[in-house]
């Protein structure tokens, strides 16, 4: 029988979702449920002078109007931040669900209105009159570091949040030894996760306990931390993540609104629902990226890399959320990419600005790291007058050298970078392309190709590496699974991961089914409820399969071992002689002597005969799996674009992706993840940007201004895979959820630069909007943000979320 693992089995999740019978948080309606609306600051930085609740309170149907001061007794502590790096102090301000005293960014919550219906709650929120005394605003992270800049938090005396550094080898000597040194300022602008499902949360009181329904990627972590905030025992709080409509990191968070609906439910004794509007999502669901890297890359004349030095300024916004200061650093294990160096030195500076916090968005630190290394490699290739792919090949860590310890002390588990690039070029004829490109240029069509040969770090994470004993996250990152075989032989798998589109109901069923000798149709995968199954760390960082899936495999193998012992007893054979083959537990060499899982499971619950005393009744097992190392997926992507030089419009016309995430559990799901990741990255490269003006006002507060790609903007994709198993886990898997997002932005940018070579364009900052591209073609501003101002365009020169200097119209 063919194993279920490896097959493109159709998803178990789909029937409810295609028929409108899924159950998302906002679909849930509870008896007597009230609705909350939040009064938010229109100011980027201001003192709250007064709040007049009277008009709101007088509306019929309004149950409560509460300010930050009113709710101070409800919270024992503010919103948590989980990183405490050894030897480094991070400035962490108070962060209450409703603000007291001052607001620090547009959208900061100052009061909440609870009413019997959602329309009424919104009406009443508009009746709350808040008087603000505006204070100076700072939106550009580099300006924020200058002397005399307005302070976001006066108590720290600086806008610097922290510094952190990592390195290996003597980078000064390595750059000294280089024949060629290239330098590049690489902004990576602020973006929104923008899952199509906005966030929502319902607090429900039940006698002594509370239940939270939430659009979260991390129900167990949320329960632990929210119980602390609410000063209640963890066991009295149940967190349920029902169907969750996409996360992309934006729901890897503990949000103030979650704490708020719980506190309100506790206060009012009634269920309280809050559902985010899209404008609230753009304003107050955490943002991603927003950093500026200053990259220095050295090489010998023959292209051999010597040293890499990077200085990163990361705009963290006004507060610290769960992982805010750590996200820029999360890319550090793969800083250096697929390449050998004699020395690497990376330094991070975090900065407060009067903007929403940044935190993890799909890729989280790794897209930024991949972006600057890949594009600086291209720049180096131009400097050396060398084919950029030849430069890469010359510096790839060779397949034979894995596991490979980098200069940063990180051990890449596996890799075959030459193999994935070779496979890419089997799918994409580069010489043919160059001929076509030359012909098209004759006709005025400017086509370009960009490559990205990338590696990411997934499988978050070996706890000893990232926990308190490692880089200092106050958490561990093992994952759990419980596999329960029912008396009839069907099974339920409980996972501590919390999928929200990844298809784990299906892929985990495939993993369990092979080990249990049953059909995946008969394996139900449950998750997202802290009252069901073991504790777990949730879904993010492409970790679910390589950590959570491995836990499922291990738990299922324990069940299989017990099933063999029961089978052996039933067949009066030795357990060592029982094998699972063709969906049956049989005596090796005597396939006529066999039992099905259904027969064994029934015997485990209702023994037909006396079983050996050491075999406990029942058939379920737990596993808690903490990986020994990270895993390092990799691949090679090529993006082909056409640039309309009359208008500056960029169109992606072809995209070829070769990914290596180890052996496929379900290749259909892998392709789906790659497609989605690529479009997320194309969105950042060409269209999407969170923009604040110099007063800290959010300019891109809706989907009208924040342009997600539609079907009409992108092509179909050509995907292929190589399979290099990871030695870290028994499945050999490495993760695929973020691959496209990590790989594709540099490929798109490189393609645009390639297309514009006849115009001498050497660099372009994202997003490659028509105006920015047109300006670059026509010599206005060189695309690097240091040219003359571009009227009507926001954000050139900074990480793209605020003007960077006075000559660009920025704040004085």
């Amino acid at each position: 029988m063919t194993p279920y693992v490896g097959q493109a089995i159709r998803r178990k999740e789909d029937p409810r979702m295609i028929s409108g019978r899924a159950n998302y948080t906002d679909d849930i309606s509870l008896p007597g449920m009230l609705h909350a609306a939040i009064v938010r600051s229109p100011e980027a930085h201001a003192a709250i002078v007064s709040i007049d609740k009277s008009a709101a309170e007088q509306r019929s149907g309004v149950v409560a109007v509460l300010t930050g001061e009113d709710m101070a007794p409800d919270f024992a502590s503010g919103l948590p931040m989980a990183w405490d790096p050894p030897g480094v102090d991070i400035n962490v301000p108070d962060h209450w669900p409703l603000k007291r005293g001052e607001v620090k960014h547009v959208g900061d919550p100052v009061a909440v209105v609870v009413a019997v219906d959602r329309y009424l709650a919104v009406d009443a929120a508009e009746d709350v009159i808040v008087e603000y005394d505006p204070k100076p605003v700072v939106v550009d992270p580099e300006a924020a570091l200058e002397d005399g800049a307005p302070l976001v938090w006066e108590q720290f005396g600086t806008n610097k949040t922290h510094e952190w550094a990592v390195g290996g080898g003597d980078v000064a000597a390595a750059l000294e030894a280089a024949d060629v040194v290239v330098e590049q300022r690489v902004p990576n602008h602020r973006t929104s996760g923008a899952p199509i499902e906005p966030r929502a949360a319902i607090g429900e009181p039940r006698a002594e306990s509370l239940t939270l329904y939430s659009t979260t990627q991390i129900p167990h972590i949320a329960r632990l931390l929210l119980a602390g905030m609410l000063d209640m025992p963890e066991d009295k709080l149940r967190v349920i993540a029902p169907d969750v409509g996409g996360g992309f990191g934006a729901k890897l968070q503990v949000y103030g609104e979650e704490a708020l609906v719980l506190a309100l439910a506790r206060r009012l004794g009634r269920a309280v629902k809050w559902t985010e509007s899209r404008s609230e999502h753009m304003t107050t669901s955490h943002h991603g990226r927003d950093q500026i890297a200053y990259v220095t890359l050295g090489a010998k004349r023959d292209g051999t890399l010597t040293g890499l030095k990077v200085r990163i300024v990361a705009d963290l916004g006004a507060y610290m959320q769960l992982l805010t200061p750590f996200i820029p650093e999360l890319g550090f294990p793969v800083m250096g990419g697929c390449y050998r160096f004699d020395a690497i030195d990376v330094h991070f500076t975090g900065v407060f600005t009067n903007k929403m916090c940044t935190d993890a968005i799909r890729g989280a630190g790794r897209p930024e790291a991949t972006y600057w290394i890949e594009l600086t490699m291209d720049k180096l290739a131009r400097e050396l007058d060398m084919d950029p792919l030849e430069l890469r090949r010359r510096n790839f860590i060779p397949k034979e050298e894995f596991p490979f310890e980098t200069k940063l002390g990180i051990v890449y588990d596996s890799g075959d970078y030459h193999g994935s690039l070779d496979r890419l070029l089997e799918n994409f004829d580069i010489e043919g392309f160059r001929r076509e490109q030359a012909e098209l240029r004759e006709k005025g069509i400017h086509r370009g190709v960009g490559f990205s040969t990338w590696v990411e770090v997934c499988g978050l994470a070996p706890s000893r590496a990232v926990g308190p004993q490692g880089v200092g996250l106050q958490a561990a990152f093992w994952e759990s699974a419980m596999v329960r075989v029912h008396p009839s032989g069907s099974a339920t798998v409980y996972t501590g991961t919390s999928p929200h589109g990844q298809g784990l109901d299906t892929s985990f069923a495939q993993i369990a089914a092979d080990r249990l000798g049953i059909d995946p149709e008969n394996v139900d995968v449950l998750h997202g409820d802290t009252d069901q199954g073991p504790w777990g760390w949730g879904t993010y960082g492409s970790r679910s399969l390589s950590v959570g899936g491995e836990a499922v495999a291990k738990a299922a193998e324990k069940v299989q071992a017990k099933a063999k012992r029961i089978c052996a007893a039933l067949l009066e054979a030795s357990p060592d002689d029982i094998e699972l083959a063709d969906g049956r537990f049989q005596v090796r060499g005597s396939p006529d002597k066999a039992k099905t899982m259904a027969e064994i499971a029934f015997a485990a619950h209702v023994p037909p005969q006396e079983l050996p005393a050491e075999i406990e009744p029942g058939l379920e097992e737990n596993s808690f799996y903490d990986p020994e190392n990270f895993v390092f997926p990799f691949g090679a992507h090529a993006c082909i674009v056409d640039v309309d030089v009359e208008t500056g419009k960029v169109q992606v016309v072809r995209y070829v992706a070769v990914d290596d995430c180890g052996p496929a559990i379900n290749p259909m799901l892998i392709d789906g993840q790659v497609h989605g990741g690529i479009v997320h990255a194309i969105g950042q490269a060409l269209y999407e940007q969170i923009v604040y003006d110099e007063d800290g006002q959010l300019v891109t507060g809706t989907f009208v201004d924040y342009a997600l790609p539609t079907a009409a903007e992108v092509p179909s994709f050509e995907t292929d895979r190589t399979e290099t198993p990871s030695p870290v886990n028994s499945l050999g898997v490495k993760g695929i959820g973020e691959a496209g997002t990590i790989a594709a932005t540099p490929a798109v940018t490189a393609a645009v630069i390639d297309a514009l070579q006849p115009f001498g364009v050497e660099w372009l900052d994202m997003p490659h909007t028509p105006m920015r591209v047109w300006n670059a073609i026509h010599g206005h501003g060189h695309g690097n943000g240091h040219g003359p101002p571009s009227l009507g365009e926001h954000g050139m020169g900074s990480a793209g979320s605020g003007p960077s200097s006075p000559d660009e119209g920025g704040a004085p």
């Binding site: 159709r10 998803r11 999740e13 789909d14 029937p15 409810r16 979702m17 295609i18 028929s19 409108g20 019978r21 899924a22 159950n23 998302y24 906002d26 679909d27 309606s29 959602r118 329309y119 923008a194 899952p195 199509i196 499902e197 906005p198 169907d243 969750v244 409509g245 996409g246 992309f248 559902t275 509007s277 899209r278 404008s279 929200h500 589109g501 990844q502 298809g503 259909m668 799901l669 392709d671 789906g672 790659v674 497609h675 989605g676 990741g677 690529i678 479009v679 997320h680 809706t702 989907f703 009208v704 997600l708 539609t710 079907a711 009409a712 992108v714 179909s716 994709f717 496209g740």
Partner: protein, 159 residues
């Protein structure tokens, strides 16, 4: 608050009547009062299309239609797409081609695609892509959604 207005609407073939606030959006009437939660809300600005339903056989974004505007009309939601013979060909094709991940945009996407195929039963890939540009998906990169719509069109055209 203005006084309630009575509406009579055929929803998925069933006659429904209600007294509604004149400002009540069709999507909130469907979701909150009729319990048809398959129609979703993803934005405030008629961009995302998660709320797409059929009004008298044509796709509309139900976040931009007042319930009172549907008075006398026929409304079809995702819950009304499966018939006695089982799934609508588009529903089947979305599953077959992995045209959904988190599933949140899916009902609106299917309703928009159904209207597209009603108007153009045998579209090219380009026509499908432009026909769906009013519906946003953050998960799939659209590749498999487009494949699903083309597959459904093929099965319908053959049938």
């Amino acid at each position: 608050m203005s006084s309630a207005v009575s509406v009579h609407v055929s929803v998925n073939g069933e006659a429904r009547e209600a007294e509604v606030d004149p400002r009540l959006l069709l999507v909130h009437w469907l979701r909150d009062e009729l319990g048809l939660t398959g129609t979703h809300v993803g934005c405030d600005t008629t961009n995302c299309g998660a709320c797409t339903v059929h009004l008298n056989g044509e796709s509309v974004k139900s976040c931009t239609v007042l319930a009172v505007q549907a008075d006398g009309a026929e409304v079809t939601t995702i819950e009304g797409m499966s018939g006695p013979d089982g799934l609508h060909p588009l529903q089947a094709a979305f599953r077959e081609k992995h045209g959904l991940q988190c599933g949140f945009c899916t009902p609106g996407m299917i309703m928009a695609a159904a209207d597209l195929l009603n108007r153009n039963p045998d579209p090219t890939e380009e026509e499908v892509r432009h026909g769906l540009e009013g519906n946003l998906c953050r998960c799939t990169g659209y590749h498999n959604i487009v494949q699903a719509v083309l597959t459904a069109a093929e099965s319908e055209v053959r049938a």
